[in-house]
């Protein structure tokens, strides 16, 4: 069955795209994340060498992007669970907006305190 293009004008479609792409990118990031943490096996100096590399502005902005991806996947996932497991109520229409605001709030918190 072919997708109807009209469906792509619906915010729910874009929520689906964001959820899928964020999940894919986070999955690709994980092996690298684990590799970095594994450096601690060689002592704190090895990990420190890497942490100094992360002080570069471009890396900091990439970290913000990763945090936003994680927050978006979390809030989008909670939205999906609430839609799937609860009976339909009017307030569920607002979940997408709540998820978006919560994601941005996490990004702002990370941006203010860390970047």
């Amino acid at each position: 069955m072919k997708n109807d293009w009209r469906g792509r004008q619906h915010p729910g479609f874009w929520a689906f795209v964001v959820h899928r792409l964020s999940g894919l990118l986070l999955t690709l990031f994980l092996p690298w994340h684990f590799w970095v943490l594994g450096k601690a096996l060689n002592g704190s100096a090895a990990l420190d060498g890497f942490l100094r590399w992360t002080d570069q502005p471009l890396v900091k902005w990439s970290e913000l992007a990763l945090v936003l991806l994680l927050a978006a996947h979390l809030t989008g996932g909670v939205r999906l669970l609430l839609l799937e497991f609860l009976d339909w109520r009017e307030w569920q229409k607002a979940l997408l907006a709540v998820a978006t605001v919560a994601t941005l709030a996490v990004g702002v918190a990370f941006g203010l305190y860390v970047v």
Binding site: L24, L30, L37, G38, L47, G77, E84, V106, Y113
Partner: protein, 113 residues
Amino acid sequence: MNARLEARLWVAQRISAMALGLFVLIHLATIVYAMRGGLSAAEVLSRTRGNAPLAAFYALFVVSVSVHAPIGLRAILDEWFALRGRLVDWLLLVAGLALAAWGLRAVAAVFAG
């Protein structure tokens, strides 16, 4: 399509999602808290070394994500690339086990000692 397998994967995806919802929330709060004013390995490891409850938390986190991510990848491979079937499922199982092993090694690196 094996209906029983599909149903089990659906349940595994949702249960792991519920666990991850909690884990990711705590992880995000930890990231913002721990990274304020920069991060040093000594600072991190002083908080993690021998911290059994936090190690258990992150071990469960790794196991949950190792269940969740391959099932998500399976949907992407199926729906966007028309890649499906027994071989794909076996490869995803191996990828999930490898991710779990790789992640648990990272947990050991940060928390053991």
